[in-house]
Amino acid sequence: MISKEINAAITIAYRDIIKLFRDKTRLVFIMIFPVIFIGIIGGMFQQNLGQNIKYNYQMYVFIGIIVQSLFSTSVNGLVSLVRDREEDFTQEMFVAPISRYTIIMGKILGSGFISVLSILGIVLYGLILGLPITFVDIIVLAPVLLISVLLGGAFGLLIIGNVSSQQTVNLIFPFIMFPQMFVSGVITPVNKSGLILTILSHLAPLTYLIDLAHGLLASYREEYAGLTIYSPLTNIIIILVIFILFVFIGTFAFARKEKTK
């Protein structure tokens, strides 16, 4: 039998996956929303502004949306623990003879799987659009996708460690997630922004993921050069530091909140 903790993490992940498949509306929304986003935003920008830029704009948005999708689905997965807490299901997990870290790992694993599912629609749509995606692109970007899931999970953990109710989550979530889409470089490059936007970009964890993805692409595709803020190595270091910080602060706050009242 596999390790008890790994078994428990898989169990927790499976629960989130099965719940997604039972919720057809959510399933359709997760897969369709990014496609609509690329179709409308990407198409509009490509047709109106794309003529004046040297890179394929839809490809730029395509990569941004994939990373953003993975990141936000992963955040959502972790934040679902707040709903579990309100529905009293966390009690069942917290009295099980497993570590609190296993619960978090299971949540990250489950939301990771859902994230991957969410990008299937995007990839399919990208292929239909005839975007110049190569095998090398997939190999180079694969680690970024994994890192996006992990950082999303860590960011979600930071949120649930400091938020108690679903109502608060509903209230703050749009303020935390939606602006990141614009300041992190998902839609347009942000390396030449003014001071305020630059500060906002640097505050958004998603920025470093998008920057890393575009930076890696630029390392062998010249047309994407000059669009990033930092080098891939710098981005990796920053991501590692904020990942450790988020996990440490989030787990501590979460475990403390559950047991200390």
């Binding site: 719940k19 299901f89 009295v95 003879p97 047991k259």
Partner: protein, 317 residues
């Protein structure tokens, strides 16, 4: 045979951050292996706080607790392996089927390697799920989503789930809240079977005091402190006596006789019966001593509920 202590609580204190007084205020007690222990008290007395601490979901402020020989602070994971819990509010995932809820629990407790389908689980697990669900009467609903279940069925499912890992101690935090009388009766019948067959220790909190009548010992907590701890009979004897209801066609003579014998009595305002209470003699001796012919005689055995109400009222005054 009840002898070994399985829960030891010494000087337990819990003070919530925003509270000025202790919710649990320096309580100590023991629960013995195989015992049915009822932990009673009015709302806000500290019952749920205590049970939350004992089930490792809440930190204590101070005190020492050992459960099944393990220290609650240092070995809580081992304790969680030994206990089963039925929470005050159902903690089921309503979007999963009954069986999926059980499978999730079983895998979290490390009894089985998790498999995505019931048919893939090992036969031992399948047999146990069928057996337990049949006993509590939810076998036909095993593969239905829990959101379609009534309150009674959810409770039954929680019982199956809490017993799947053969816990040594079963914590029941107001388990019959929201259940109709039939479901409540079925629940207790099944728990009795579990206790008889598995010798499981039961730690119960409840507002339905008739549920605690069968317990081995009762602990009454109020304002965070233990008011009484003893067997049901000890509590009844301490707090309330039997009542004898009598009447006669010669009521004036009967009253005069009772007064002459200095018996404590009151008159029932509804039917004017004479109720003899709180006398130091046994009911048998009192009845034997009355010479007036009686046309009514009833002996009312005290209930735990009466004893409990008396105690709580006594403390309010």
């Amino acid at each position: 045979m009840i002898n070994n202590s399985i829960i030891q609580v010494k000087n337990l204190v819990k003070k919530y951050h925003k509270s000025e007084k202790n919710s649990v205020d320096d309580i100590s007690f023991e629960v013995f292996e195989g015992e049915f222990f009822a932990f009673l008290g009015p709302n806000g007395a500290g019952k749920t706080t205590t049970i939350s601490i004992l089930t490792t979901t809440l930190n204590k402020t101070s005190g020492d607790i050992k459960i099944a020989g393990f220290d609650i602070e240092k070995q809580s994971k081992f304790i969680r392996e030994k206990i089963g819990i039925i929470f005050q509010k159902p903690s089921l995932d309503l979007n999963l089927t009954a069986e999926e809820n059980i499978r999730l629990h079983s895998s979290l407790y490390g009894l089985n390697t998790f498999k995505p389908f019931f048919s893939m689980m090992d036969k031992k697990y399948q047999d146990k799920v069928y057996q337990l669900s049949e006993v509590v009467g939810i076998k036909d609903e095993l593969f239905k989503e829990v959101k379609s279940f009534s309150g009674g069925m959810k409770r039954k499912l929680e019982i199956v789930r809490s017993l799947i890992h053969n816990p040594k101690i079963l914590f029941l935090d107001e388990p019959s809240t929201g259940l109709d009388p039939v479901s409540r009766n079925e629940l207790w019948q099944y728990l009795k079977e579990v206790r008889d067959n598995e010798k499981t220790t039961i730690f119960l909190t409840t507002h339905y005091l008739e549920e605690a009548e069968e317990s081995d010992r009762v602990c009454i907590i109020n304002n965070g402190k233990i008011e009484r701890l003893g067997t049901v009979n000890e509590l009844k004897n301490d707090l309330i006596s039997e009542e004898i209801i009598i009447n006669s066609v010669e009521k004036d003579n009967l009253l005069a006789e009772i007064k002459s014998k200095n018996y404590n009595y009151r008159i029932n305002p509804n039917n004017k019966d004479i109720v003899l209470h709180d006398n130091n003699l046994s009911s048998f001796k009192i009845i034997k001593s009355i010479e007036t012919d009686l046309n009514k005689l009833e002996i009312i055995k005290p209930t735990l509920e009466q004893a409990y109400i008396n105690l709580i009222k006594l403390n309010k005054n």
